[in-house]
């Protein structure tokens, strides 16, 4: 394995992105626009994600929700034709000025809509990120793997077969494995993109409980098609429609007295 310079810096405990004050937002988005070639999928988005909140994003298909998440951890670098305009700051730092994108991505955990169990053992799936960060001691890895699998409500089902392939678990188990893997790097920010799409209702509830607890430690951006899930979990929620952020407000306010009629129509199931 080639030791990258970035891996060496990560071996030291990563300093949390120091906020100027305790109330400074973790993520600030100003005038964000996203294009694929000539096709604009998101434009003029301004919003803040505060420390230790669950920030919900709801909206119909093609609203630009997933593209928004991809911009947050700079996945545009891997997407041919994807162009991001406007400013996103993470912990006060403009993403465009960050050269070490690997360190950025290590601070941000991502869970994709479709479960991705890598074709490695269950153990190695969760230990991958810590290993990349330079953790080599077996005892330390064991501890991380168990803690993350427990948090993702998967430990009891797989503790006796940690060496079997993660990619052969059932869809719902793979999704929880993906969540465990995202947590394994101790992220500051967790991005969840429709995490419950392949998970049964009971497990979904267990994961939701876990997410509420995690709010003590980190910040979560939750993209969901289930408006009730946003209502159960999110402190504040944004409504995206047709590539624009229609409004952002406290979740209860949004559900009871949204400023924009389109928000109310969507949340009450009249379209989308």
């Amino acid at each position: 394995m080639v030791s990258e310079p970035t891996a060496a810096t990560a071996a030291a405990p990563a300093p949390a992105p120091a906020p100027a004050t305790a109330t400074a937002p973790l993520v600030q988005v100003r005038g964000l626009g996203i294009r694929y070639g000539n096709r604009a999928v998101l434009q003029g988005v301004d919003l803040d994600v505060r420390q230790h909140e669950i920030f919900g994003i709801v909206g119909p298909a093609n609203a630009g929700k997933t593209s928004f998440l991809r911009a947050l951890n700079r996945m545009d670098e891997f997407t041919p034709g994807m162009k991001v305009d406007g400013a996103i700051t993470f912990g006060g730092r403009d993403l465009r000025t960050i050269k070490n994108l690997y360190a950025l991505r290590r601070r941000i955990g991502v869970v994709f809509p479709l479960p991705v169990g890598l074709p490695l053992s269950i153990y190695d799936n969760v230990a991958l990120a810590p290993r990349l960060a330079g953790i080599g001691k077996r005892a330390e890895l064991d501890q991380i793997v168990e803690r993350c699998l427990r948090r993702a409500a998967l430990w009891d089902e797989v503790k006796d077969r940690l060496t079997s392939l993660g990619s052969l678990l059932s869809g719902g188990q793979q999704q929880r494995l993906t969540i465990a893997r995202a947590l394994s790097q101790d992220p500051v920010l967790l991005l969840l993109d429709e995490f419950s799409i392949a998970v049964d209702p009971v497990t979904t509830m267990r994961i939701e409980e876990m997410l509420k607890e995690l709010r003590q430690e980190l910040t979560i951006v939750l993209v969901t098609n289930l408006v009730q899930q946003a209502r159960r979990l999110a402190d504040r929620t944004a409504f995206f429609l047709g590539g624009r952020c229609v409004e952002v407000d406290r979740t209860e306010t949004l559900f009871t007295s949204a400023a924009d009629q389109r928000t109310t129509d969507y949340l009450e199931g009249r379209f989308g």
Binding site: R106, V110, V116, L128, L165
Partner: protein
């Protein structure tokens, strides 16, 4: 249409369906016969070689040097020479081809350079082997100063088989789902860390497919080696990559056309050809065995 027709008329075969079934059966037969015809040349070739050459394929034939103007003795130096040439071609073509395939599959963007490389690969695959031979004489024997040697012949074979390795490897790299790469990147892994830990471990069988194809071609080719490293007759087996060597494929050509064998030695080319085929099959069997172990269990 009003209401549902009675069951017996619903499932009765109409004239139109009858004709469609007839045509379908005819095409099925046509394709089956065509596929079966493929077996014919294989059976005829192997059968002829086994009948004519098999009885003379003794241990002594494999382990002795040729004597008496090739007519007597065995083919040991040619057999060993072919192994040297093939191993040399693999040692050059596989690392270069896999590296190029990794670049094309994992790093290259769709731009002019990438398109130029891709068309170079296609064109390289289309160059006739005798032209590769002349290139090998100019580039490896002459310009790089390898002389007429195993090294020059191996390099010539390697250049000829590079496209095969590249294409087979690239296909297998691209068979690894993109979602795996994105998952790894999102953990902060670099492209190389992703390739090394996630992509390559799942592409082994494709790389081995490339190896199998290189072996098959390198063992059998005659033109690229006859000017660059293979000789009509050499006193002993090679000691280094800078020696000339005998080779099975060239030996087959020589005993078939250059030596007056007479009636009592007419079996000789068949025995050489049979050995040649058995060497290819044996080397392929090893690679296929390894590949089956790699593919043994479903990974996703």
């Amino acid at each position: 249409m009003s209401g549902l027709a009675p069951v017996d008329t619903t499932f009765a075969i109409t004239g139109r369906e009858q004709r469609a079934l007839g045509v379908q059966r005819a095409f099925r037969m046509l394709f089956l016969v065509t596929a079966l015809l493929l077996i014919l040349p294989v059976v005829l070739i192997l059968g002829k070689l086994a009948i004519e050459g098999g009885p003379h394929l003794t241990w002594e034939f494999l382990t002795e040097k040729p004597r008496n103007g090739m007519k007597d003795g065995g083919i040991f130096p040619a057999l060993i020479g072919t192994v040297w040439l093939t191993a040399g071609a693999l040692a050059v073509a596989v690392p270069l081809g896999v590296a190029a395939a990794i670049y094309l599959s994992e790093y290259a963007r769709d731009n002019l350079l990438t398109r130029a490389i891709n068309s170079a690969i296609v064109n390289l695959a289309g160059v006739p082997s005798i032209v590769h031979a002349l290139f090998g004489v100019g580039a490896f024997v002459g310009f790089l100063g390898f002389g007429v040697s195993i090294l020059a012949a191996s390099c010539t074979l390697a250049v000829m088989t590079l496209p095969v390795v590249i294409v087979a490897t690239r296909e297998s790299l691209q068979a690894v789902p993109r979602a795996f790469r994105e998952a790894s990147w999102s953990l902060g892994a670099t492209r190389w860390q992703t390739i090394w830990r996630v992509v390559l471990p799942n592409s082994g069988s494709g790389i081995l497919t490339g190896v199998i194809l290189v072996v098959s071609r390198a063992v059998g080719e005659t033109a690229p080696i006859m000017f660059t490293g293979a000789a009509f007759w050499v006193r002993s087996t090679p000691n280094s990559m800078f020696d000339q060597t005998m080779a099975l494929s060239l030996h087959l050509y020589n005993v078939s056309t250059q030596v007056n064998l007479g009636q009592d030695h007419a079996w000789l080319p068949f025995s050489v050809a049979l050995t040649l085929i058995l060497v290819v099959l044996a080397m392929n069997a090893v690679a296929i065995g390894v590949r089956m172990r790699l593919r043994g269990r479903k990974k996703w």
